[in-house]
Amino acid sequence: MRIGVVTFPGTLDDRDAQRAVRLAGATPVSLWHAEKDLHDVDAVILPGGFSFGDYLRCGAIAAQALVMETIIDAAYGGLPVLGICNGFQILVEANLLPGGLIRNEHQHFICRDQKLIVENVDTAWTNQFTLGQEITIPLKNGEGGYIAKEETLKKLEGEGLIAFRYSEVNPNGSFNNIAGLRNSKGNVVGLMPHPEHAVEPGFGPDTDKAMRSGVDGLNFFTSVLNWMVKA
């Protein structure tokens, strides 16, 4: 299976996302922002970074990139798309997910091992978790505060569209502790924390067992393989 990883100018975690795809057993395919062609990939990851320098608003310019025209159409058609951090911001700017992401309420960039609760497992990217599972993956951002209108929040809560919530610590002032969302079909998921940084023992978050041994992020990438087998 082929999973595309998009590189925009200023993307940082593209090689990490490709590594995660490989470790999950799929083939990563590098996609360039200025090409419409998705090269027959079965799913797409929009990785983290500071696409186009975060100018204007985080993700706003990337959402207008040529590659996004194809991705947006394909996402409406059911193509699995995962947006991580800046990728989540891009999905929101592209109206594939609702709401907005603003400066962390404490005004600082923060990098920490973050606990999350898995709120929904009926998606392309979360089906290998159990409902209510607590996982730890790194969080690193300056503009991760999730905001939405009251009615949007009601809809998200009512229709089970919240994929992840922050556990123990809300690191950025996100409304309703929202860390990640899904769309109604479940093929599109976006979140601020970085599952691709918790896929390889020795390079992930600390666990009770050993230093940097956390691999809770791997399930995101095995989930999409499982989803495609079923589909």
Partner: protein, 761 residues
Amino acid sequence: MTKNISVDTTKEAKKTPDKAQPWKELGLKQEEYDRIKVILGRRPTSAELAMYSVMWSEHCSYKSSKIYLRQFGEKVTPEMRKNLMVGMGENAGVVDIGEGWAVTFKVESHNHPSYIEPFQGAATGVGGIVRDILTMGARPIAVMDQLRFGAVDHPDTARVVNGVVSGISFYGNCLGLPNIGGETVFDKVYQGNPLVNALSVGALRHEDLKLAKATNPGDLVILFGARTGADGIGGVSVLASETFDSEGPSRRPAVQVGDPFAEKVLIECSLELYAAQVVAGIQDLGGAGLSCATSELASNGNAGMKVQLKNVLLRDESLTPEEILMSESQERMMAIVPKKDLKAFTDIVNKHEVEFSVMGEVIKEPRLYIMWGDEEIVNVPPRTVAHDGPVYERPVAYPSWIDSLKANSASTLPRETSEEALKSQINQVVSSPNQASKSWITDQYDHYVGGNTALAMPDDSGMVRVSEETGLGVAIATDANGKYCQLDPYTGTQLALAESYRNVAASGASPMAVTNCLNFGSPENPEVMWQFKEATAGLADGCLELGIPVTGGNVSFYNQTGDVAIYPTPVVGVLGVIDDVARRIPSGWQDEGNNIYLLGITRDELDGSAWAETIHDHLGGKPPVVDLKQEKALAELMHGANLQGLIASAHDLSEGGLVQAIIESSLRFGVGARIWLNEILERDNVDLTAALFSESQARMLISVGREDDVKFVGLCEARGIPVLRIGVTDSTKELIIQDVAGWTIEELAREHEGTIPELFG
């Protein structure tokens, strides 16, 4: 906006030999100006004057330090040179780490800009050092920073701390480089002159090494990256080479402004150009901008260059030729490209939407010609600009104050013996700004990006994987102790070397190479020059004894406010190699039931210590004794024991002494322990205060699984390393030091981690 630019040409210079020129304002001395006239056989044009003034500034020419830096190249054995692919003098040193891989690393200062404009000063400091690494043909893989600020209770400190930390966070995070460690020190001597040093490390395959050379006549000289603007003009000569007067800063326009997005694009674009093999030589534009890049490329290649300055793409069309030559606009590179590769070059830079302009050609004649339209404004031998600048043997004087400072030892300060008082002193030391956890700062830096970080703050050294196939990696630690160096710069500098070396060894890597950033006061002060002389000799002698070469470095003079210099602060960075990062050693206890060992001997060494500073506000006496032979033995023991998998954790002992190491080891993963000190007191004949707080060298705190005990102790004894079991880890979530103090882990965490956020959060 249009400005009438009157251009001073070489023709004009010949016609008007006696025209008054602002050489003094540009930082040149009379004899330097006279020498330029001798070199050229006429007065310089204003453009030439601008070039010479920046390139002959202290920052670029190392004119006061050169005679001392030579010993880093002289005090070396053939064995030390064995793995050195590129030594001092290039943008950064390059070391062969095996398997066809090489790494390049360097630390550089951005002190003065960071006081004037902390955010941009620190940000562009990161940007500059990363470009140095990129210039060697390497992919930058990590950054670190070494920061020194004024007193925590001074009203200006928060401005500088917040600005610098956000600047590093902003720039480094946007580049996608993990920040894997560094240092933060507060002391009133840095109040008007903070130190902001940034280190970067990069990795490359041997065959990808690039040098800043223009060799082949006919090759094109291409400037690419950001446009040239008015930022940072005269930054080098005016800022880095002059002392702040006590009135405070007023030179904001001379600080460069950084755009990390442009730099990230430039990194990816340059790496793609290297991979396509269309670049014959490359140089980044940093201090002294185009003046430096053109003259250095030509001089290094023993060639010349003819370039058209009007081809430089500008952000501000009103810039004069002199300003264009001096501009330190960030995120620019100069490439030497064979004509046949221009098409391939163009395709790649266009793909990345990076602007470029062909400025001219390499020529055979070793002469640098710069044209402004039809007018010749520069006609110089490039070597005289880039490499044959003035060299000074400045007067040196033994400081008048140092003997009385040395006589004032901390050994006579009152000591406590009651449990209550000792616990209070321990709490005060580990919660003092210099000894407290710096996680409030380091949590603002991304240490995950790249997916290769094996160790980062708060571990003893930062470690990154270089090869994903084999796990080959490098560890880096940096250290400087200004207080030790104030007491004795020779010993103090060796102590910095010893600590970095020990940190690297504690992480499981083998120390291999050294870089440095020498931060000192004014070289025109003979007492400062004495400190510099002692420090460089200490470092060169120390490296020779340890058998690891200095691969490069940076000198920052004029760090003072008015007449008052900072403590001499030579930052020493040591790079080590580890054949598989999976074997790295954690810095804290992870498992219960492990035995805790102290390696090394504890002496009563409290002069210049964290204890003397925190409890008694005292600085005096002699720094701890250096024993590099013992440090080497310790490193070899660590290597051997780690290969056998005997070590569960290792933490080096340094500022704050044994108790600091114990508390950090406990807090790293929240594991408790019971510790006893009585055997240290007996064997080493010291009291409790010394056992807890002494900063004796060549010591480490090791934890070992019970099953490996006999083997580990045997190994220590066989190698002559003093070893003492002083405790055992447990599941109590409490740290108990028998007959001294006890804490819950929670209580300890509050003490150690609360200070910095309370001050600056």
